[in-house]
Amino acid sequence: MAYNVLIVDDSPAMRSFVRRVLELSGIPVGQFLEAGDGQQALEVLHKQWVDVVLTDLNMPTMDGEQFVRHMEADESLRSIPVLVVSTDRTDQRVQQMLTLGAKGYVTKPFLPETLREELERALGDAHAGH
């Protein structure tokens, strides 16, 4: 099975980096989709099936926290696992995002294997839940 992955980050360089890490990780990816903020990401999600979302927090227009709140409030999006990928590694922020519904939290800087492991765990949990 190949997964459709949505990468949400306002930095094109960061989106490119995450994409390269996943391409080298061995995780079967069907399609990479990208968005520059939460609003764009919601538009993508309403047009296209996505298996997992990786989102930054600090973004213009709609930040990652608002984006996760919108996904949790939308019955059609709630089951899609979300991994937060952020520079913000304070304990309070991590707990806040996990409480809001994120399935994992990866802090930047991260090792490629850390991102792969968190993604596999999130995808595994999502499948176990179906």
Partner: protein
């Protein structure tokens, strides 16, 4: 926090970020630190939380180009101006996150969007550390309004 400890925090945070995601190592300890000369790229950002302030970098263009190339998996000559600025802004963002978590791991900070600036700190107090890299040099500076 004493200035020397703060300098060490800046150094440790920058080293962690550069080595983990930018595939850029610091020079061996004891190596001379080259001067920061030539055209510079100077990303910086503000943060707000229990203390507020700014963190910034001063990076010679060629060092910046090499860091961006490492991050993007490109040759230095392939890196565009837009990519260079984007990557170095991301670098400043990650170093700031790392510094703040070392100072106040239990607090929530808001990091504003990094921007390319003139490269000079405004106001004080400010602490800076110049780091020799295996291939280049950069300076990281940090200033705050309430002592961390």
């Amino acid at each position: 926090m004493p200035v020397t400890e703060m300098e060490q925090v800046l150094s440790d945070a920058a080293a962690e970020v550069l080595e983990t995601m930018f595939f850029t190592s610091l020079a061996e300890e004891g190596e001379p630190v080259p001067p920061i000369t030539g055209p510079l790229v100077c990303p910086n950002l503000s943060f707000r939380g229990p203390c507020s302030g700014r963190l910034g970098l001063r990076i010679p263009l060629e060092t910046g180009r090499q860091i961006a190339a490492n991050f993007l998996g490109l040759e230095g000559s392939e890196v565009t101006q837009s990519q260079l600025q984007d990557v170095l802004c991301e670098l400043s963002n990650m170093i700031c996150g790392s510094v703040l978590s070392r100072l106040e791991s239990g607090s929530i900070f808001e990091l504003l969007h990094p921007e390319i600036g003139p490269g000079e700190t405004a106001g004080s107090p400010a602490v800076s550390r110049t780091l020799a890299l295996e291939d280049g040099v950069l300076e990281v500076w940090f200033q705050w309004e309430a002592a961390p």
